[in-house]
């Protein structure tokens, strides 16, 4: 059977990896290409590169980094950040990305997922949703978690999948950076309504959090994290060995 995936996420700004705590207080970590190679050698099953630059120069630098990474790293590469049109899909796919994740772009243009899925296939299109509890429901947030869209998240994610998104990254703003475990309640709500892979994001602080995730929610396919990997709090090789020991189907 398919193994559970462990995915480090690299937020890239001006050619460097950064990680926010609750999306703020960005700090510099390392060279994205070197970090990607390191993670691949540790057993990461996939990498997510997230472009958080706004400028045109930053964007060009990002695609250079992407190309360099695809030249040296031979595991699946998902790219997100600043994906607003099918031309953006084309731009990053040409640099060696395997999947493209859309977030604000799909909120602004609900047709984007359908158009991209038709051109590149469902398996290529990932909906990345930043979700937060608000007024008794799960709400979709835009612009890196800064703006409440007012849209109910579970039905919105389901609609994205119906339109052709082949995978869901669910990032809980409520647990992001808190390091007390993944948002199991939110993940279960999403897993129950979609039949595509669901990737848990936001809240992992230690190895046990991943074990709890996969034991509690067998429908969740992958766990994603950033700073705990970047700062060595959790080593991917240790994590995967622990998963295998716990009887979770893992690529070791």
């Amino acid at each position: 059977m398919i193994t559970k995936r462990i995915i480090p996420c690299l937020d890239v700004k001006n050619g460097r990896v950064v990680k926010g705590v609750n999306f703020e207080r960005l700090g510099d970590v390392a060279s994205p290409v070197e970090l990607a190679q390191y993670y691949s050698s540790c057993g990461a099953d996939e990498l997510v590169f997230y472009d958080i630059t706004a400028s045109a120069e930053g964007r060009a630098l990002f695609t250079d980094i992407l190309t360099e990474t695809a030249r040296k790293v031979f595991i699946p590469l998902t790219v997100g950040g600043g994906i607003n049109t099918v031309d953006d899909f084309d731009r990053v796919l040409k640099c060696g990305a395997d999947k493209v994740s859309v977030n604000s772009g799909a909120i602004r243009n609900p047709d984007l997922i359908y158009q991209a899925a038709k051109l590149y296939g469902d398996q290529c299109v990932v909906i990345s949703a930043d979700v937060k509890r608000q007024e008794g429901e799960f709400r979709v947030y835009a612009k890196g978690g800064r703006e409440d869209t007012g849209m109910e998240a579970i039905s919105w994610i389901k609609r994205c999948v119906d339109n052709g998104a082949g995978e869901v990254v669910l990032n809980s703003i409520d647990t992001d950076g808190v390091k007390q475990g993944f948002d199991l309640e939110m993940l279960e709500a999403v897993s129950n309504v979609v039949n595509v892979p669901v990737i848990a994001s936001g809240g992992a602080g230690k190895i046990e959090d991943f074990l709890t995730l996969f034991r509690t929610l067998p429908k969740v396919d992958a766990g994603l994290a950033a700073s705990i990997f970047h700062f060595g709090e959790v080593k991917i090789s240790d994590l995967k060995a622990e998963m295998a020991r716990a009887g979770i189907n893992t690529r070791v």
Binding site: M1, D45, P197
Partner: protein
């Protein structure tokens, strides 16, 4: 030199880079002369079967491939490129493939449990059914990366490995000098590179 056959489908950047990583020269080409001068051939492919089969024929690459294979040159089809090696595919209709390996390509939905996700996407273990020179550097339990919704069937004589997804899905095939991988060696980390290395040493 390895020729990666370019017939207008898919992104060949990762594939070419993976050969560079193992120290083999690979050229992306649709030039029959260059393909004829290559030591071995790679038939890549992503997307829909009908469109790809059509492009293979209209570009003249189908005939070039058949001629080179008949002359004994090793050929490896990857993902959709593997599916194209077979007689027929039943992806949205019925379409002829290259017929280099006997068998058909059918939806995985016909054989897997209803509650499993489609496509079969992610890392899965290779279960070796028959020894193959491509597996010479592999270890038991090695995983490779799959992305597909269709699988090769009616080809048990040629199957060298399968992946378990409630049913056994054909993962690799071999018939004489023709090889095929349903998975993506260029996205399967060190294990994938070892398979490509073994192909380069045939």
């Amino acid at each position: 030199m390895i020729a990666i056959i370019d017939y207008g489908v898919g992104n060949l950047f990762s594939l070419q880079s993976s050969f560079a990583a193992i120290g083999s020269e690979a050229v992306v080409s649709s030039d029959p002369k260059l393909i004829a001068s290559a030591d071995r051939l790679i038939l890549p492919g992503v997307g829909a079967f009908e469109d790809a089969a059509q492009k293979l024929r209209s570009s003249g690459m189908a005939d070039v491939i058949k001629r080179e294979v008949a002359a004994g040159k090793p050929l490896m089809g990857i993902c959709l490129g593997m599916q194209l090696l077979f007689d027929k595919s039943y992806e949205y209709g019925e379409h002829d493939g290259l017929g280099l390996i006997g068998g058909n390509v059918r939806p995985i939905a016909e054989v897997i449990d209803k509650d499993l996700k489609i496509p079969h996407i992610g890392w899965n273990r290779l279960i070796v059914k028959k020894p193959s020179p491509l597996f010479k550097y592999l270890n038991d339990g090695d995983c490779v990366y799959f992305v597909h919704s269709y699988y090769a069937t009616d080809c048990s004589d040629s199957v060298t490995a399968v992946a378990e997804y409630s049913a056994e899905l054909t993962a690799s095939v071999e018939k004489g000098n023709v090889f095929g991988c349903q998975f993506h060696p260029e996205k399967s980390g060190d294990v994938g590179l070892k398979i490509l290395k073994a192909f380069c040493e045939l």
